[in-house]
């Protein structure tokens, strides 16, 4: 399994200036982060309809030199944030090869319709928002619940709230909306910091949960466990269907009941297994019949 270490910051904006990137990454190491994602934005709405070809998403920026430099200190991932207004983005995403090169895909809707699409059908991992646009877009309860069920995560960036008090108000409003509509489920915190002075340590960030309407546990999970879940979900999306081999290192004990009880349970289990076996055989049979039918149609 892909190994990552806490703590996580999944939004470090990419800068062409290497010295800025180095300063940011050094500060991240110093404050205790171990896994970070370098973010690059792509505005789908600015692409003209006629020019929407098979590949419209950019290649990830070259950050190999930074990976080598911070090899033993940080795990550097790459993320793309797609800004969009309509559902046409879904087709472009489905045919894109470049998107597979990114570890994380975030959606940044610009309209209410796009926000609903982002929650219900967007083939990404993360829903973010533009702090400069204010609290114009607020998610509704149903869309939030669908997004949570689909394993999507909502991102709250804290750096804009340090930079400007107006952004802070909007950020609090959006976070409170997440709290009232969906009990702040599946929230992650990330920085979105333009320079190293906007970065805060993971414990400080977790502590900011109080102003964003999250509980203490939710605050801690927002910089640790939820980020790990998000990473695993993104990896599974990238890799598609995979086969997993599980190897036991020793005897597996299912229960600590007595031998008699165990024997009756074993009998029951055997009965169940035989039933399941028959059902599986039927399913397989159905499956092959289905495939043969499809082949005939083709």
């Amino acid at each position: 399994m892909e190994q990552t270490k806490p703590f996580y910051d999944f939004c470090v904006p990419y800068s062409k200036d290497d010295s800025v990137m180095r300063a940011l990454l050094n500060e991240l190491v110093e404050t205790g982060y171990k896994t970070v994602a370098i973010d690059q934005s792509f505005d789908h709405s600015k692409k003209e309809a006629g020019k929407r070809g098979s590949e419209m998403f950019p290649e990830p920026h070259k950050v190999e030199h930074l990976r080598r430099e911070f090899h033993d200190k940080l795990r550097i991932l790459q993320r793309i944030t797609i800004l969009y207004v309509d559902v046409n983005v879904a087709h472009a995403m489905s045919v894109s090869q470049n998107l597979r090169k990114f570890n994380l895909i975030a959606g940044q809707p610009k309209t209410d319709a796009a926000l609903t699409h982002c929650c219900t059908a967007f083939n990404g991992d993360l829903i973010t928002f533009d702090p400069a646009a204010g609290s114009r877009l607020l998610v509704n309860r149903k869309a939030y619940q669908v997004a949570v069920r689909r394993g999507m995560f909502f991102e709250i960036k804290y750096a804009p709230s340090i930079a400007d008090s107006n952004y802070r108000k909007d950020m609090i409003k959006i976070a409170q909306n997440y709290c009232t509509k969906g009990k702040s489920k599946n929230i992650i915190f990330s920085s979105g910091a333009a320079h190293e002075f906007q970065l805060r340590g993971p414990y400080d960030v977790a502590n900011l949960s109080f102003i964003f309407g999250l509980s203490e546990d939710q605050g801690k999970n927002a910089v640790d466990r939820h980020c790990r879940q998000l990473f695993l979900k993104a990896e599974s999306r990238r890799l598609g269907k995979t086969i997993m081999f599980v190897k036991g290192n020793g005897p597996i004990v299912f229960s600590d009941t007595s031998e008699d009880e165990q024997s009756t349970e074993d009998d029951e289990m055997m009965g169940l297994e035989s039933q399941i076996g028959e059902a599986d055989a039927l399913e397989v049979k159905d499956g092959t019949e289905h495939v043969i039918k499809r082949l005939k149609v083709a």
């Binding site: 008090s165 802070r168 190293e196 002075f197 400080d204 900011l208 102003i211």
Partner: protein, 114 residues
């Protein structure tokens, strides 16, 4: 006697030479942040120790203000229009002293001259 919380702060400034670092200015910066974030007017904030060279401050606040002071410090992004980060190194109910902690660290190091 009222209970207090002590904060040990490291001041990280983009250009430390371009700003005037004094206890009064630091205090007013924190109080201003408290006022703007939580409308907490004139809370008690006593500076216990201040070193401009090391850019370290130890101050104390009443126990009930601990949470809001902590959050306000985290959200401070500018000191005299200069980007800054006030890093909370430690907060404790017992008294803190950065000079002692520095001495302790130095005494813990092996002496290479012997």
């Amino acid at each position: 006697m009222a209970n207090h919380y002590y904060f040990d702060i490291k001041l990280k400034l983009r250009d430390p030479d371009a700003v005037v670092l004094t206890p009064a200015l630091f205090r007013s910066c924190v109080l201003e942040a408290l006022d703007s974030f939580f409308c907490e007017e004139k809370p008690t904030l006593e500076i216990v120790k201040f070193c401009a060279q090391q850019q370290r401050v130890v101050f104390r606040v009443p126990e009930e203000l601990h949470d809001i002071v902590r959050m306000s410090i985290e959200l401070i992004g500018h000191y005299q229009q200069m980007p800054c980060h006030f890093e909370i190194l430690q907060s404790s109910k017992s008294s803190l002293d950065f000079e002692k902690s520095i001495e302790k660290t130095l005494s813990g190091l092996p002496n290479f001259e012997d």
